[in-house]
């Protein structure tokens, strides 16, 4: 039995990197320290897709990697407008090959941010993002606000490692010296820990941000008695907490990005942070879901100029969320093949979009079977990044961390599968003398 330290978790955007494991006979037998319960479950491993498969007469039949890769290349090469979607639960090295494949095919490329913090990206493009690394929060923040987010259940180590519960240089007493505010439509597990719980009406986040901005900018007189279900006294109390804090940190989640005014909510959340900055130090950060969703946004941007929803049919990157975001594209039936990698639209996309996805040829690249497998035509199992393959990922605060390889495997890593598909596509083109 071997103890391995500094293991990096490849589950959520927290990317905890201080995990201690015990490994025996090429298996993780114990997670000794560092991981939350969900991370632990991933590290201990669960059922995998056993073999590459191709669907024949409605049934997935096992085949070789060579056959699956060849079939995938044929599907993509024949397609007039393929969609390459996912990319958030794999490493940047694979994402880079994905961009090259997109460019080669003139394809549409989109990533899971599109249905997650895509609205946050649009807001950043509107007003920017005053933010910081998670260590800054840990060392300095004395007021932590979670807005439309429930880290106690969704990012289980977040408060302990980085925010409310953690101890740092100016926060040596941990949560004793801090205040926690939770804004949500219901009393979540996180809300139960809060010093102040602000219960906002569904979809009314925008006016609540506006009211707080007005108060922070000295216009409390224009704020009515109740805004979005929140009494004015509570808004004044919250604004006061902001003014008195030395370092205000706001984290926000899907509860704000996908309700009411959508990306405008985030514009207003950022404007609230700017307003708080008139009184004290204030930062804001989206709670990113997948462990490398920040990374695909980074890679896609430095290689194409844009973070998601791009098309390469013109030879250069064309960016147009709403047109080229995967759900919209599928909803209109505007693609004729899809490659889904490291994500599960089968479980997360709207029904109308899925109807089209089920009709067209679909290639799935993933270590695990999921609802997308049910309609995939080619299924390619891969090594689990962070357990069986190494590579770079970006934490939710865009700090790059290298995933480690802990176990040996016969499964090929994402990067290699993609490179081989790209090589096959180029061979097909050469053969046809284009």
């Amino acid at each position: 039995m071997v103890e391995i330290t500094d293991v990096v978790c490849s589950l959520c955007g927290c990317v905890c990197d201080d995990i201690v494991l015990e490994v025996e006979n090429n298996k993780v037998v114990k997670v000794k320290r560092g991981a939350c319960s969900v991370g632990k479950s991933k590290l201990l491993g669960h059922e995998r897709i056993k073999s590459p498969m191709i669907r024949e007469n409605g049934e997935l039949k096992e085949c070789s990697y060579d056959e699956a890769i060849k079939k995938s290349a044929e599907i993509l090469y024949k397609s007039r407008r393929p969609l390459l979607y996912g990319w958030s639960s794999t490493v940047c090295e694979a994402d880079k090959v994905g961009v090259e494949l997109t460019e080669d095919l003139g394809a549409v490329m989109d990533n899971t941010a599109s249905v997650c913090h895509g609205p946050s990206v649009l807001a950043i493009q509107d007003v920017g993002l005053p933010s910081c690394t998670l260590g800054e929060v840990k060392n300095r923040a004395d007021l932590v606000i979670y807005w439309g987010a429930n880290p106690a259940q969704a990012h289980a180590n977040h408060m302990k490692r980085y925010s409310y519960v953690s101890k740092g240089y100016w926060t040596a007493e941990g949560k004793k010296g801090k205040k926690l505010v939770v804004v949500d439509v219901r009393k979540t597990m996180t809300a139960k820990m809060a010093d102040v719980f602000v219960q906002v009406e569904q979809g009314q986040d925008y006016p609540v941000f506006s009211a707080l901005r007005a108060i922070l900018q000295g216009h409390e007189d224009v704020v009515p008695d109740k805004v979005g279900g929140v009494p004015k006294e509570q808004l004044l109390e919250l604004a006061n907490m902001v003014k008195e804090a030395k370092f205000v940190m706001t984290f926000f989640g899907m509860g704000v990005t996908h309700t009411g005014a959508r990306h405008n909510n985030i514009v207003n959340a950022i404007q609230f942070t700017r307003a708080a900055h008139l009184h004290t130090k204030a930062s804001i950060m989206p709670l990113r879901g997948h462990y490398n969703v920040a990374g695909i946004n980074q890679v896609c941007t430095w290689e194409t100029g844009f973070p998601f929803a791009i098309e390469m049919a013109r030879g250069y990157a064309w960016y147009n969320p709403g047109e080229l975001s995967a759900t919209d594209l599928l909803y209109r039936g505007d693609c004729d093949a899809a490659m889904i990698i490291a994500s599960d639209p089968g479980a997360h996309f709207p029904g109308e979009s899925l109807k089209h996805l089920a009709k067209i040829p679909v290639i799935q690249i993933d270590p695990y079977a999921n609802p997308t497998t049910e309609f995939a035509d080619v299924v390619i199992p891969v090594a689990v990044s962070g357990i069986e393959a190494e590579g770079n990922v970006y934490r939710m605060d865009n700090i790059p961390i290298r995933l480690r390889k802990i176990l040996d495997t016969d499964y090929l890593p994402d990067e290699e599968i993609l490179e081989r598909i790209l090589t096959e596509v180029r061979a097909l083109r050469e053969k046809e003398g284009e």
Partner: protein
């Protein structure tokens, strides 16, 4: 493929070797300049201007804040789109081009080395990941070492040997090149929403920016570091800041360089040469800075010259970007980095109709023209802060032509005639001086001339730019055009640009420095550093250093301990 290349009949400007426009052949074998060749492929340069590959001493081309600038500005990305070709990847971006465009566009201007000017240590992997994706160019990056808690604590305790040990460790851990200093103390203060002048006390740390700069200069010279400290001085962009800049030079006047070079390089000095007390009486003090540089030999500068138009400003100087955003009200991104540094990004439009911008535009050129010895000056735009790097040919044409400068000044705010000196300066650069400020001086100031950069002597890297112009050309427009797209750019003996088009995209190398520190000192320093990781960092010590995988084409320079 021929391994030999002969560049015949070019008029060569190789200032490091004292070659000032001589008709001369250049022989190349296996990527290096050699004495003679036997069976070469021949390029007939036909009296065209030939120079070593350009060496950019300071530009922001890769890493977290560059990419944050791209993410924030789709409007800038769309401005620079160019479709993929048989050899080139798709391009995007004007002031913050994508990585591929960055490599191609520099190569088309005849540049073959670029220094990424600010690498946050905690995010060093990001900088390296992007540098892998910048084709053609050799590169290196300067880690930020000045607002780091470890640095400030050792400066406070006065233990310069331990400071040197930390400096060595962080340069090694980040695969960095040297010591970058950006608003020392001010960026840490910004973590609380404050800023620091040169002699202010940094909140909670009880040291001054002046002490940090002096300490790091001393630490740097304990090793045979190829480069001096590289300093973005305090109070960037503030009217009257030229005094701070001069005081900063004075701080390190007594420090002895470990090699034959400057002790301090101040960067984008245009932003630090301001007089006046407010924006109303804002004026150029380039003359005062140039006088200082002329009278002293321990300091060099790069100019950070303004290119008129829209750009994306980005710096580790967080409070400066906040001030700028408050002036413009445009979008603003900030990213403070635990225990180390910060950054800010905001778009900015330099307009020739605005008095302040016009004076800024004049100052960068005044610095180049008033510093008498071109070996003390480098051409930069602090890309993309004062303007994108593809504006370099515009600056070259202005430095070479008084007529061009007068024509430009005519269309600009009249403040240029009474609050700047440019219209009264007659000096015109010659091609030898241009070669100095774009390759010779920059290679020497970085110590890279000893590693084959910036010259064409035997043994040098076969990085060559052939410009489609005769040395007699005086037409500023034609000069500008020639410097934007080379006739040929040769990188390590391979033709990468021909007739202004990129024809090959070999990967560049990443040059990194290994300062060699005594084990005992390192061990003592590590006790403190381990405590910082255990208590305050959000990553573990073992996951912190940049792994070898991030430098697929490394080139190491060892810097032995001197004292």
């Amino acid at each position: 493929m021929a391994d030999e290349l002969l560049i015949r009949n070019g008029v060569v400007y190789d200032p490091i070797n004292g070659v000032k426009g001589e008709k001369k052949d250049i022989c190349i074998r296996d990527g290096k300049v050699v004495d003679s060749v036997t069976n070469p492929k021949v390029i007939d340069a036909e009296g065209r201007v030939v120079m070593p590959g350009g060496v950019d001493i300071h530009a922001h081309i890769a890493g977290g804040k560059v990419n944050a600038g791209r993410i924030m500005r789709p409007e800038d990305e769309r401005k620079g789109v160019e479709p993929k070709t048989k050899v080139c990847r798709a391009q995007s971006g004007y002031s913050v081009p994508n990585t591929f465009a960055t490599g191609y566009r520099y190569a088309r201007m005849g540049y073959t080395f670029v220094m990424e000017a600010a690498m946050p240590p905690l995010a060093a992997r990001h900088t390296h990941e992007e540098m892998i994706d910048i084709p053609i160019l050799d590169n290196a990056a300067l880690p930020l070492i000045d607002n780091n808690w470890m640095t400030m604590e050792y400066v406070k305790s006065g233990d310069m040997d331990l400071l040197a040990a930390y400096m060595a460790w962080i340069i090694k851990a980040t695969k960095g090149f040297g010591v970058k200093i950006v608003n020392p103390g001010g960026t840490e203060a910004w973590a609380w929403g404050k800023n620091c002048d040169l002699n202010d006390s940094v909140p909670y740390f009880d040291v001054t920016p002046a002490e940090i700069i002096k300490g790091l200069a001393v630490a740097n010279e304990k090793f045979d570091m190829p480069h001096s400290i590289h300093v973005h001085t305090n109070m960037l962009g503030h009217p009257g800041n030229f005094e701070v800049t001069k005081d900063t030079y004075d701080l390190v006047k007594g420090v002895k360089a470990s090699k034959d070079r400057q002790v301090i390089h101040t960067t984008h000095t245009q932003f630090h040469s301001y007089g006046g007390t407010n924006w109303g009486n804002f004026e150029s003090k380039a003359d005062a800075i140039a006088d200082y540089i002329n009278q002293n030999d321990h300091a060099t500068i790069d100019i950070g010259s303004v290119i008129l138009g829209d750009t994306t400003t980005m710096t580790a100087d967080g409070p400066m970007e906040y001030s700028l955003y408050q002036i413009t009200g445009r979008k603003w991104t900030n990213h403070d980095v635990e225990l180390e540094t910060g950054s800010g990004i905001t778009p900015f439009l330099y307009s020739g109709k605005v008095s302040v911008h016009t004076i800024q535009w004049a100052i960068g050129q005044e610095l180049a023209l008033l510093v008498k010895d071109p070996w003390k000056v480098a051409l930069t735009t602090d890309h993309p802060n004062a303007g994108p790097f593809i504006g370099y040919p515009i600056i070259i044409s202005h430095l070479m032509s008084k007529k061009r400068r007068d024509e430009s000044a005519e269309d600009m705010h009249k403040a240029i005639f009474d609050r700047a000196a440019l219209p009264s300066i007659d000096r015109e650069y010659d091609l030898n001086e241009i070669a100095i400020i774009t390759r010779g001086m920059t290679a020497k100031a970085l110590g890279l001339h000893e590693h084959g950069k910036g010259h064409l002597g035997v043994g040098a890297d076969a990085d060559v730019a052939i410009y489609d112009m005769s040395p007699e050309e005086r037409d500023a427009g034609k000069i500008q055009k020639a410097f934007l797209n080379t006739k040929y750019t040769i990188k390590a003996g391979e033709i990468v640009v021909k007739d202004g088009e990129v024809v090959a995209t070999p990967p560049g190398r990443t040059i990194f420095v290994t300062p060699e520190c005594d084990d005992k000192l390192t061990d003592e320093m590590m006790v403190t550093l381990k405590d910082k990781f255990a208590k305050y960092y959000s990553v573990t010590l073992n996951n912190y250093p940049v792994q070898d995988a991030y430098l697929p084409n490394p080139y190491e320079i060892k810097a032995p301990w001197r004292s």
